[in-house]
Symmetry: C2
Subunit: 184 residues, 2 copies
Protein backbone atom coordinates (compact mmCIF):
# COMPACT_ATOMS: atom_id res chain seq x y z
CA UNK A 1 0.00 0.00 0.00
CA UNK A 2 1.43 3.37 -1.06
CA UNK A 3 1.16 6.88 0.33
CA UNK A 4 -0.20 9.83 -1.64
CA UNK A 5 2.27 12.25 -3.26
CA UNK A 6 1.96 15.96 -2.50
CA UNK A 7 2.36 17.88 -5.79
CA UNK A 8 1.61 21.32 -4.38
CA UNK A 9 1.02 22.78 -0.92
CA UNK A 10 -0.69 26.11 -0.26
CA UNK A 11 -0.99 27.66 3.19
CA UNK A 12 -4.54 28.92 3.65
CA UNK A 13 -4.51 29.17 7.46
CA UNK A 14 -7.09 31.66 8.77
CA UNK A 15 -4.98 32.04 11.94
CA UNK A 16 -1.83 30.68 13.51
CA UNK A 17 -4.17 28.96 15.98
CA UNK A 18 -5.72 26.88 13.21
CA UNK A 19 -3.21 26.09 10.47
CA UNK A 20 -4.77 24.74 7.27
CA UNK A 21 -2.93 23.51 4.20
CA UNK A 22 -4.45 22.88 0.77
CA UNK A 23 -2.75 20.00 -1.01
CA UNK A 24 -2.79 18.97 -4.63
CA UNK A 25 -2.11 15.24 -4.37
CA UNK A 26 -1.51 12.26 -6.64
CA UNK A 27 -2.98 8.95 -5.52
CA UNK A 28 -1.26 5.59 -6.16
CA UNK A 29 -3.96 4.84 -8.77
CA UNK A 30 -2.87 7.94 -10.73
CA UNK A 31 -5.87 10.08 -9.82
CA UNK A 32 -5.13 13.74 -9.02
CA UNK A 33 -7.07 15.56 -6.28
CA UNK A 34 -6.72 19.35 -6.60
CA UNK A 35 -7.92 20.30 -3.15
CA UNK A 36 -7.39 18.08 -0.15
CA UNK A 37 -7.42 20.06 3.10
CA UNK A 38 -5.53 19.09 6.25
CA UNK A 39 -4.64 20.86 9.47
CA UNK A 40 -1.03 20.59 10.59
CA UNK A 41 -1.51 21.33 14.26
CA UNK A 42 1.49 20.62 16.48
CA UNK A 43 1.75 17.30 18.23
CA UNK A 44 0.66 16.93 21.83
CA UNK A 45 2.56 15.65 24.87
CA UNK A 46 0.37 13.99 27.54
CA UNK A 47 1.16 12.54 30.96
CA UNK A 48 -0.60 9.93 33.07
CA UNK A 49 0.59 11.29 36.44
CA UNK A 50 0.42 9.13 39.55
CA UNK A 51 1.30 10.56 42.97
CA UNK A 52 3.02 8.93 45.93
CA UNK A 53 -0.51 8.52 47.37
CA UNK A 54 -1.53 6.41 44.32
CA UNK A 55 -3.74 9.17 42.89
CA UNK A 56 -4.06 9.74 39.14
CA UNK A 57 -4.25 13.51 38.61
CA UNK A 58 -6.83 14.52 35.98
CA UNK A 59 -7.90 17.95 34.74
CA UNK A 60 -11.52 18.95 34.23
CA UNK A 61 -12.15 21.91 31.95
CA UNK A 62 -14.41 23.40 29.31
CA UNK A 63 -13.31 22.75 25.73
CA UNK A 64 -14.82 25.03 23.12
CA UNK A 65 -14.45 22.63 20.15
CA UNK A 66 -16.82 20.07 21.65
CA UNK A 67 -18.56 22.83 23.71
CA UNK A 68 -18.60 20.71 26.82
CA UNK A 69 -16.74 20.12 30.08
CA UNK A 70 -14.43 17.14 29.79
CA UNK A 71 -12.07 15.21 32.07
CA UNK A 72 -8.65 14.55 30.57
CA UNK A 73 -5.06 13.80 31.44
CA UNK A 74 -2.76 16.85 31.56
CA UNK A 75 -1.51 17.62 28.05
CA UNK A 76 -0.59 20.38 25.67
CA UNK A 77 0.73 21.19 22.23
CA UNK A 78 4.46 20.83 21.66
CA UNK A 79 6.11 24.17 22.48
CA UNK A 80 8.71 26.03 20.44
CA UNK A 81 12.29 24.93 21.11
CA UNK A 82 11.05 22.15 23.40
CA UNK A 83 10.99 18.41 22.76
CA UNK A 84 7.69 16.58 23.11
CA UNK A 85 8.88 15.25 26.51
CA UNK A 86 9.83 18.73 27.73
CA UNK A 87 6.47 20.07 26.54
CA UNK A 88 4.63 17.30 28.37
CA UNK A 89 6.51 18.13 31.60
CA UNK A 90 5.84 21.87 31.20
CA UNK A 91 2.10 21.29 30.67
CA UNK A 92 1.92 18.91 33.62
CA UNK A 93 3.44 21.58 35.87
CA UNK A 94 1.33 24.46 34.47
CA UNK A 95 -1.96 22.54 34.70
CA UNK A 96 -1.49 20.62 37.95
CA UNK A 97 1.41 22.12 39.93
CA UNK A 98 3.38 18.87 39.71
CA UNK A 99 7.02 19.17 38.69
CA UNK A 100 9.05 16.15 37.68
CA UNK A 101 11.92 15.40 35.32
CA UNK A 102 12.65 13.69 32.01
CA UNK A 103 14.09 10.59 33.71
CA UNK A 104 10.69 9.95 35.29
CA UNK A 105 8.76 9.76 31.96
CA UNK A 106 8.00 6.26 30.67
CA UNK A 107 6.91 6.34 26.99
CA UNK A 108 3.57 4.56 26.47
CA UNK A 109 3.23 5.23 22.76
CA UNK A 110 1.56 7.52 20.27
CA UNK A 111 -2.10 8.10 19.48
CA UNK A 112 -3.45 9.58 16.24
CA UNK A 113 -6.55 11.71 16.70
CA UNK A 114 -8.22 12.51 13.36
CA UNK A 115 -5.82 10.89 10.86
CA UNK A 116 -7.98 11.78 7.84
CA UNK A 117 -7.77 15.51 8.42
CA UNK A 118 -4.99 16.19 10.89
CA UNK A 119 -1.28 15.54 11.41
CA UNK A 120 -1.83 15.69 15.17
CA UNK A 121 -0.31 12.85 17.17
CA UNK A 122 -0.43 12.63 20.97
CA UNK A 123 2.68 11.17 22.63
CA UNK A 124 1.75 9.59 25.94
CA UNK A 125 3.95 9.11 29.01
CA UNK A 126 3.52 7.52 32.41
CA UNK A 127 5.07 9.27 35.44
CA UNK A 128 4.88 7.89 38.96
CA UNK A 129 5.92 8.82 42.54
CA UNK A 130 4.83 12.43 41.97
CA UNK A 131 4.25 15.24 44.47
CA UNK A 132 2.38 18.55 44.27
CA UNK A 133 5.68 20.40 44.59
CA UNK A 134 5.08 23.44 42.34
CA UNK A 135 2.09 25.64 41.47
CA UNK A 136 -0.53 25.84 38.73
CA UNK A 137 0.19 28.54 36.14
CA UNK A 138 -2.86 28.83 33.89
CA UNK A 139 -3.45 30.86 30.75
CA UNK A 140 -6.29 33.37 30.77
CA UNK A 141 -8.49 31.00 28.72
CA UNK A 142 -7.93 28.16 31.19
CA UNK A 143 -10.12 27.33 34.19
CA UNK A 144 -9.03 23.94 35.43
CA UNK A 145 -10.33 21.78 38.25
CA UNK A 146 -7.95 19.10 39.49
CA UNK A 147 -9.51 15.67 40.01
CA UNK A 148 -7.78 12.82 41.84
CA UNK A 149 -8.78 9.19 41.41
CA UNK A 150 -7.12 5.83 41.94
CA UNK A 151 -5.84 4.15 38.77
CA UNK A 152 -8.63 1.55 39.11
CA UNK A 153 -11.24 4.33 39.31
CA UNK A 154 -10.00 5.94 36.07
CA UNK A 155 -10.73 2.68 34.25
CA UNK A 156 -14.22 2.66 35.75
CA UNK A 157 -14.66 6.26 34.52
CA UNK A 158 -13.83 5.12 30.99
CA UNK A 159 -16.27 2.22 31.25
CA UNK A 160 -19.12 4.41 32.49
CA UNK A 161 -18.53 7.28 30.05
CA UNK A 162 -17.16 9.92 32.46
CA UNK A 163 -13.89 10.01 30.49
CA UNK A 164 -14.59 10.24 26.75
CA UNK A 165 -11.62 11.92 25.07
CA UNK A 166 -9.80 9.52 22.74
CA UNK A 167 -6.15 10.18 23.58
CA UNK A 168 -6.83 10.19 27.33
CA UNK A 169 -8.76 6.90 27.06
CA UNK A 170 -6.01 5.39 24.92
CA UNK A 171 -3.17 6.45 27.24
CA UNK A 172 -4.91 5.08 30.34
CA UNK A 173 -5.90 1.81 28.64
CA UNK A 174 -2.48 1.24 27.01
CA UNK A 175 -0.89 1.74 30.42
CA UNK A 176 -3.48 -0.68 31.86
CA UNK A 177 -2.37 -3.31 29.33
CA UNK A 178 1.37 -2.66 29.80
CA UNK A 179 1.43 -2.24 33.60
CA UNK A 180 -1.66 -4.06 34.94
CA UNK A 181 -0.33 -4.10 38.53
CA UNK A 182 -0.76 -0.32 38.76
CA UNK A 183 -4.53 -0.73 38.33
CA UNK A 184 -5.14 -3.39 41.00
Amino acid sequence: MEKWKIIEETDISPSKWFPIKKHKVKLPNGKIIDDYYITDLNNVGMVLPITTKNEVVLVKQYKHGIKDIVIELPAGFQQKNKSIEESALAELEEETGIRTNLENLIPIGKIANVPTKSTLVTYGFLATQLEFNSRQNLEVTEDIEIIKRTPFETVEMIKNGEIIVGDTVALIMKTYLMFPDIFK
Copy 2:
Protein backbone atom coordinates in the same frame (compact mmCIF):
# COMPACT_ATOMS: atom_id res chain seq x y z
CA MET B 1 -17.85 25.26 35.84
CA GLU B 2 -19.49 27.26 33.03
CA LYS B 3 -19.36 27.07 29.24
CA TRP B 4 -18.23 29.92 27.00
CA LYS B 5 -20.87 32.08 25.31
CA ILE B 6 -20.73 32.51 21.53
CA ILE B 7 -21.33 36.19 20.74
CA GLU B 8 -20.72 35.98 17.01
CA GLU B 9 -20.08 33.16 14.53
CA THR B 10 -18.50 33.65 11.08
CA ASP B 11 -18.18 30.87 8.53
CA ILE B 12 -14.67 31.01 7.06
CA SER B 13 -14.58 27.47 5.65
CA PRO B 14 -12.10 27.13 2.78
CA SER B 15 -14.10 24.13 1.50
CA LYS B 16 -17.13 22.07 2.40
CA TRP B 17 -14.61 19.29 3.21
CA PHE B 18 -13.06 21.36 5.98
CA PRO B 19 -15.63 23.59 7.68
CA ILE B 20 -14.10 26.29 9.90
CA LYS B 21 -15.98 28.74 12.09
CA LYS B 22 -14.57 31.86 13.69
CA HIS B 23 -16.18 32.58 17.06
CA LYS B 24 -16.22 35.69 19.15
CA VAL B 25 -16.70 34.27 22.65
CA LYS B 26 -17.22 35.47 26.20
CA LEU B 27 -15.55 33.45 28.96
CA PRO B 28 -17.12 32.93 32.41
CA ASN B 29 -14.48 35.32 33.83
CA GLY B 30 -15.80 38.07 31.54
CA LYS B 31 -12.90 38.03 29.10
CA ILE B 32 -13.79 38.38 25.40
CA ILE B 33 -11.84 36.45 22.75
CA ASP B 34 -12.39 37.89 19.28
CA ASP B 35 -11.13 34.98 17.24
CA TYR B 36 -11.42 31.40 18.44
CA TYR B 37 -11.38 28.92 15.54
CA ILE B 38 -13.09 25.55 15.55
CA THR B 39 -13.96 22.98 12.91
CA ASP B 40 -17.51 21.66 12.94
CA LEU B 41 -16.92 18.42 11.10
CA ASN B 42 -19.79 15.93 11.17
CA ASN B 43 -19.81 13.24 13.79
CA VAL B 44 -18.57 9.74 12.99
CA GLY B 45 -20.28 6.36 13.32
CA MET B 46 -17.91 3.44 13.99
CA VAL B 47 -18.50 -0.30 14.33
CA LEU B 48 -16.51 -3.03 16.08
CA PRO B 49 -17.66 -5.84 13.79
CA ILE B 50 -17.25 -9.48 14.85
CA THR B 51 -18.08 -12.31 12.47
CA THR B 52 -19.60 -15.72 13.16
CA LYS B 53 -15.99 -17.01 12.97
CA ASN B 54 -14.98 -14.73 15.88
CA GLU B 55 -12.99 -12.41 13.62
CA VAL B 56 -12.83 -8.66 14.24
CA VAL B 57 -12.85 -6.98 10.83
CA LEU B 58 -10.43 -4.04 10.59
CA VAL B 59 -9.59 -1.74 7.68
CA LYS B 60 -6.05 -0.77 6.74
CA GLN B 61 -5.66 2.35 4.63
CA TYR B 62 -3.59 5.43 3.94
CA LYS B 63 -4.78 8.57 5.73
CA HIS B 64 -3.50 11.84 4.32
CA GLY B 65 -3.84 13.89 7.53
CA ILE B 66 -1.30 11.81 9.39
CA LYS B 67 0.38 10.78 6.08
CA ASP B 68 0.64 7.18 7.13
CA ILE B 69 -1.05 3.82 6.74
CA VAL B 70 -3.22 3.03 9.75
CA ILE B 71 -5.39 0.15 10.95
CA GLU B 72 -8.83 1.20 12.18
CA LEU B 73 -12.34 -0.04 12.76
CA PRO B 74 -14.79 0.67 9.91
CA ALA B 75 -16.22 4.17 10.31
CA GLY B 76 -17.38 7.23 8.46
CA PHE B 77 -18.85 10.68 8.82
CA GLN B 78 -22.57 10.94 9.47
CA GLN B 79 -24.37 11.10 6.13
CA LYS B 80 -27.09 13.47 5.08
CA ASN B 81 -30.59 12.30 6.05
CA LYS B 82 -29.14 9.34 7.94
CA SER B 83 -28.91 8.78 11.68
CA ILE B 84 -25.51 8.06 13.20
CA GLU B 85 -26.50 4.38 13.44
CA GLU B 86 -27.59 4.25 9.77
CA SER B 87 -24.34 5.97 8.77
CA ALA B 88 -22.29 3.45 10.74
CA LEU B 89 -24.10 0.56 9.03
CA ALA B 90 -23.62 2.14 5.58
CA GLU B 91 -19.89 2.66 6.16
CA LEU B 92 -19.49 -0.88 7.48
CA GLU B 93 -21.05 -2.27 4.31
CA GLU B 94 -19.14 0.06 1.94
CA GLU B 95 -15.75 -0.59 3.55
CA THR B 96 -16.01 -4.30 4.37
CA GLY B 97 -18.90 -5.85 2.46
CA ILE B 98 -20.71 -6.75 5.69
CA ARG B 99 -24.39 -5.88 5.86
CA THR B 100 -26.30 -5.96 9.10
CA ASN B 101 -29.21 -4.08 10.67
CA LEU B 102 -29.98 -1.52 13.35
CA GLU B 103 -31.19 -4.17 15.80
CA ASN B 104 -27.70 -5.69 15.80
CA LEU B 105 -25.91 -2.50 16.95
CA ILE B 106 -25.01 -2.32 20.64
CA PRO B 107 -24.05 1.25 21.68
CA ILE B 108 -20.65 1.36 23.41
CA GLY B 109 -20.50 5.11 23.90
CA LYS B 110 -19.03 8.26 22.45
CA ILE B 111 -15.45 9.41 22.01
CA ALA B 112 -14.30 13.00 21.55
CA ASN B 113 -11.31 13.39 19.26
CA VAL B 114 -9.80 16.90 19.49
CA PRO B 115 -12.20 18.65 21.91
CA THR B 116 -10.21 21.90 21.92
CA LYS B 117 -10.59 22.49 18.19
CA SER B 118 -13.31 20.21 16.89
CA THR B 119 -16.97 19.34 17.48
CA LEU B 120 -16.29 15.84 16.15
CA VAL B 121 -17.57 12.95 18.28
CA THR B 122 -17.29 9.29 17.30
CA TYR B 123 -20.25 7.11 18.27
CA GLY B 124 -19.11 3.51 18.70
CA PHE B 125 -21.17 0.35 18.30
CA LEU B 126 -20.54 -3.36 18.74
CA ALA B 127 -22.05 -5.75 16.19
CA THR B 128 -21.65 -9.52 16.40
CA GLN B 129 -22.61 -12.67 14.43
CA LEU B 130 -21.73 -10.96 11.15
CA GLU B 131 -21.22 -12.45 7.67
CA PHE B 132 -19.51 -11.12 4.52
CA ASN B 133 -22.90 -11.03 2.77
CA SER B 134 -22.53 -7.94 0.58
CA ARG B 135 -19.70 -6.26 -1.35
CA GLN B 136 -17.20 -3.45 -0.80
CA ASN B 137 -18.15 -0.20 -2.51
CA LEU B 138 -15.22 2.18 -2.19
CA GLU B 139 -14.86 5.81 -3.15
CA VAL B 140 -12.13 6.74 -5.65
CA THR B 141 -9.89 8.05 -2.83
CA GLU B 142 -10.23 4.80 -0.89
CA ASP B 143 -7.88 1.81 -1.13
CA ILE B 144 -8.75 -0.48 1.74
CA GLU B 145 -7.23 -3.75 2.86
CA ILE B 146 -9.42 -5.89 5.10
CA ILE B 147 -7.67 -7.36 8.14
CA LYS B 148 -9.17 -10.09 10.33
CA ARG B 149 -8.00 -10.74 13.87
CA THR B 150 -9.48 -12.38 16.96
CA PRO B 151 -10.78 -9.95 19.59
CA PHE B 152 -7.85 -10.94 21.85
CA GLU B 153 -5.39 -10.13 19.06
CA THR B 154 -6.83 -6.61 18.58
CA VAL B 155 -5.99 -5.86 22.22
CA GLU B 156 -2.45 -7.11 21.64
CA MET B 157 -2.24 -4.80 18.59
CA ILE B 158 -3.15 -1.84 20.81
CA LYS B 159 -0.56 -2.87 23.39
CA ASN B 160 2.23 -3.23 20.80
CA GLY B 161 1.39 -0.05 18.86
CA GLU B 162 -0.02 -1.58 15.65
CA ILE B 163 -3.37 0.14 16.31
CA ILE B 164 -2.81 3.81 17.24
CA VAL B 165 -5.93 5.76 16.29
CA GLY B 166 -7.71 7.14 19.34
CA ASP B 167 -11.34 6.35 18.59
CA THR B 168 -10.54 2.82 17.40
CA VAL B 169 -8.44 2.17 20.52
CA ALA B 170 -11.19 3.58 22.73
CA LEU B 171 -14.00 1.56 21.10
CA ILE B 172 -12.06 -1.72 21.38
CA MET B 173 -10.98 -1.06 24.97
CA LYS B 174 -14.42 0.13 26.16
CA THR B 175 -15.90 -3.02 24.68
CA TYR B 176 -13.14 -5.01 26.43
CA LEU B 177 -14.20 -3.48 29.75
CA MET B 178 -17.95 -3.93 29.13
CA PHE B 179 -17.88 -7.39 27.55
CA PRO B 180 -14.67 -9.08 28.73
CA ASP B 181 -15.86 -12.56 27.71
CA ILE B 182 -15.62 -11.59 24.04
CA PHE B 183 -11.85 -11.11 24.41
CA LYS B 184 -10.98 -14.44 26.11
